[in-house]
C-alpha cells in the first residue's frame, strides 16, 4: 500500500483551482496568525539594533529572570515526570475500579484557567489564605516567593507527561512485562529493562512539552509571584513588566529568547514525530 491513500486518487479529488485556493487560504491564515507574530517578536527585538537587543538580555533583572525560569522548570519537570510515569504505570498496566474517573481528574488542570491555578494557592498560602497567618508566624513565605511560583507551575504542567505516556503504554499492553516477570525479573528490573525502552521516545516527547509550558507559563505564575524584580520574576513575567514600562526593545528581546525556545521545542517535536512516529502516535487521539 502506498503511504498516502489520497494523493493517488486523482479522479475524485478537488480540481487544481480548488486545491490551490485551499492551500492559499491555509497559508494565508497561518501566515497572519502564526508567522506574523513570530516575525514581530524578532523584528521588534532588533528594532533599535543589536546593541539594544543585547542590553535588554544582559540586564541583571533579565538574567535573574532567566535563572529563575530555569530553576522552576528544573524542579517542576522532574516532579511531573515521576508522577507521569507512576500514573501511567498504574493506569495502563492494571485494571481497577474508577480508572476513567482518575483519568478525568488527571486532565483537570488542562481545563482550569491559569489564573485560577494560581488563585487556588493564594487562597491556601496567601496572607489572607487559610494557612497564611500560620505560615507568617513560622516565617515561611510561599506566595510572592519562589515556592509559590514552583507550585503554580507544577499545577499547570501536571498532566503533560502522563497524557503522553498513558495511551502509549495502554497500546503496548502488558505482555512484555508479564513475560519478564515470569522469567524472574523483579518489578524494578522489568520497568527499567522492558518498559522504559519501549516508552523512551514518548517520555522525551512529554518532557519536551512539559518543559515548554513550564518555562512559558504566565497566568498562574503571575498571580502567585508578586512580580518582585530580581526575585520572583520569571522570563514571561519580566516580558510583561518591561512591556508595561514601554521598554519595548528589552521586552521583545526577552520575548525573542522565549520564542527561540518555542521554535527549538517545535523542531525537536517534529523530529521526534518524524523519527519515532509509531512510538508516539498513540498519544495523538
Amino acid at each position: 500500500m502506498p503511504a498516502d491513500p489520497h494523493s493517488r486518487r486523482p479522479a475524485v479529488g478537488e480540481g487544481p483551482v480548488t486545491r490551490l485556493a485551499l492551500i492559499g487560504l491555509a497559508i494565508l491564515f497561518l501566515a497572519a496568525f502564526l508567522a506574523l507574530p513570530l516575525a514581530a517578536v524578532f523584528s521588534q527585538a532588533l528594532a533599535k539594533g543589536f546593541g539594544a537587543f543585547l542590553k535588554g538580555l544582559t540586564d541583571p533583572d533579565a538574567l535573574s529572570a532567566i535563572q529563575l525560569t530555569l530553576t522552576v522548570a528544573a524542579i517542576a519537570v522532574p516532579l511531573n515526570l515521576v508522577f507521569g510515569v507512576a500514573a501511567s504505570w498504574a493506569i495502563a498496566k492494571f485494571n481497577f475500579r474508577g480508572k476513567s474517573l482518575l483519568l478525568a481528574l488527571i486532565d483537570l488542570p488542562f481545563s482550569v484557567s491559569p489564573v485560577i491555578s494560581g488563585l487556588v494557592y493564594v487562597l491556601l498560602f496567601g496572607l489572607h489564605g487559610s494557612f497564611g497567618p500560620w505560615l507568617r508566624d513560622h516565617g515561611v513565605q510561599i506566595i510572592f516567593a519562589v515556592p509559590g511560583v514552583v507550585m503554580a507551575t507544577v499545577f499547570v504542567t501536571f498532566p503533560f507527561v502522563a497524557r503522553e505516556l498513558i495511551p502509549l503504554m495502554q497500546e503496548q499492553g502488558v505482555e512484555d512485562e508479564e513475560a519478564a516477570i515470569v522469567l524472574g525479573a523483579s518489578g524494578w528490573q522489568t520497568f527499567r529493562l522492558v518498559t522504559l525502552p519501549n516508552i523512551r521516545w514518548g517520555l522525551l516527547y512529554g518532557v519536551l512539552l512539559c518543559n515548554a509550558r513550564a518555562m512559558g507559563e504566565f497566568g498562574a505564575v503571575s498571580v502567585v509571584s508578586g512580580h518582585i524584580r530580581g526575585k520572583t520574576n520569571t522570563m514571561p513575567l519580566h516580558v510583561e513588566i518591561l512591556y508595561n514600562e514601554y521598554n519595548f526593545v528589552a521586552a521583545f528581546a526577552v520575548a525573542s529568547l522565549l520564542a527561540l525556545l518555542a521554535l527549538v521545542t517545535l523542531a525537536a517535536k517534529a523530529i521526534l514525530e518524524w523519527r519515532f512516529a509509531d512510538q508516539i502516535a498513540a498519544a495523538k487521539r
Binding site: S7, A11, V12, E14, G15, T18, R19, L22, L25, A26, L34, L36, P37, A40, V41, F83, A86, A87, A90, I91, K93, F94, N95, F96, L105, P109, S111, V112, S113, P114, V115, I116, L119, V122, L123, L127, H128, S130, M151, F155, E178, V182, S186, G187, F191, L209, A212, F218, G219, S222, P236, L237, V239, E240, A255, L258, A262, T265, L266, K284
Partner: protein, 291 residues
C-alpha cells in the same frame, strides 16, 4: 483481557467486589498510591479548598458579586469571544487540517510543525506580539485604522488572540480523523453522481463532525480561561474588553479574596455546564454515526 483460563484446575476468581483485577505485575500499590497522593496534593485539595472558600461567602453575596454588571459583562466578553474564536477556528482549522492531510506541496512539513506554535509559545510573548501587529501603529492595525476601525483594545482583538491560542486544538483533533477516512467512500459517492461539494457535505462532514466538535470544545474551554495572550491586546476597558480572568486578578490585587474566589468558581461552573452541553451534542452526533 482477563488472564483467567477456563478449565477444571482453575477456580473462578472470587465473585463480588474487587478493586483491582487479578494481575501478576508488581508495583500497583506504590504507583497508584503515589499518583493519588500527588493528585490530591497538587490539584484536588487546592481546587476543593477554593470551592469551600466560595461556599463560605454565602449565597446572597455570591450572587451579588456574580451578577454585578461589570462582572456579568466580563462573562459575556469571555464566553462570547471564546465561542466566536472557536467557531472561526472550526472553519479555518478544518481547512488547514484538510490541506495538511490531503495535499502535497512544498513547505508542508514546515507548516505542519508551525501549527503547534501556540502550544509552545509563552502566552505573554504571543500577547505582546499580537498587540504589536494589531495595535493602531502595528503592521495590520495601521491598515485597519486606515479602513476606519480598530482591532486591538476591542473585543475583536480578544477574538484574534483566542483564534491564535485555539487553532492547534482544532487542527490536531481533526487531522487524525481526516487521515483515517476511507478514500473508497468518496469514490463511491463520486460514482453515484455526487459533486465534490455534495460529497463533502453529505459524506465527509458527518464523519468529521464529532472530532470537529471535540476540537471546538477544547479550543473554547481554553479560550474562556486564557489570560496571557489576551490582556495585552484587550486593553482591558471595563464593560468593553475586560475578561473574567483579568477581573479575578484585579480582585486579588485588591486583596478581595472573596470576590476573586466567587468569580473563579462561577467561571468554572459555567464552563463545566457548557462542556456538559457540548458533550451531549457530541453524543448525539456520534449516535447517528456507526453504532
Amino acid at each position: 483481557m482477563t488472564a483467567v483460563a477456563s478449565g477444571a484446575t482453575v477456580r473462578p476468581a472470587k465473585r463480588g467486589w474487587s478493586f483491582l483485577a487479578p494481575t501478576i505485575l508488581p508495583g500497583f500499590g506504590t504507583a497508584f498510591g503515589f499518583t493519588l497522593a500527588y493528585l490530591c496534593l497538587i490539584v484536588l485539595i487546592p481546587l476543593g479548598h477554593m470551592a469551600l472558600r466560595a461556599a463560605d461567602v454565602g449565597w446572597d453575596r455570591f450572587w451579588a458579586i456574580t451578577l454585578a454588571p461589570r462582572v456579568l459583562h466580563a462573562f459575556y466578553v469571555s464566553f462570547g469571544c471564546a465561542l466566536a474564536a472557536a467557531l472561526i477556528n472550526a472553519v479555518f482549522g478544518l481547512v488547514v487540517a484538510w490541506v495538511l492531510v490531503r495535499y502535497r506541496f512544498p513547505g508542508r512539513r514546515l507548516i505542519d510543525a508551525m501549527v503547534d506554535l501556540p502550544f509552545a509559545l509563552p502566552t505573554s510573548v504571543a500577547g505582546i506580539a499580537l498587540t504589536a501587529i494589531y495595535a493602531p501603529n502595528g503592521w495590520i492595525g495601521a491598515l485597519a485604522k486606515a479602513a476606519g476601525f480598530k482591532i486591538a483594545f476591542t473585543p475583536i482583538g480578544i477574538v484574534i488572540a483566542l483564534v491564535f491560542v485555539g487553532l492547534p486544538f482544532i487542527v490536531r483533533t481533526v487531522e487524525p480523523v481526516l487521515q483515517d477516512l476511507d478514500a473508497e467512500v468518496e469514490e463511491a459517492a463520486a460514482s453515484l453522481g455526487a459533486t465534490r461539494w455534495q460529497t463533502f457535505i453529505k459524506v465527509l462532514l458527518p464523519a468529521i463532525l464529532p472530532a470537529l466538535i471535540t476540537g471546538v470544545a477544547l479550543a473554547f474551554a481554553r479560550g474562556v480561561g486564557e489570560y496571557g495572550s489576551v490582556i495585552f491586546i484587550a486593553g482591558n476597558i471595563p464593560a468593553v474588553s475586560e475578561i473574567v480572568p483579568l477581573l479575578i486578578v484585579a480582585r486579588l490585587e485588591q486583596y478581595d479574596y472573596a470576590g476573586a474566589t466567587v468569580i473563579a468558581t462561577a467561571m468554572m461552573g459555567v464552563s463545566f455546564l457548557m462542556l456538559l452541553g457540548i458533550n451531549f451534542l457530541q453524543r448525539w452526533t456520534r449516535s447517528r454515526h456507526a453504532r
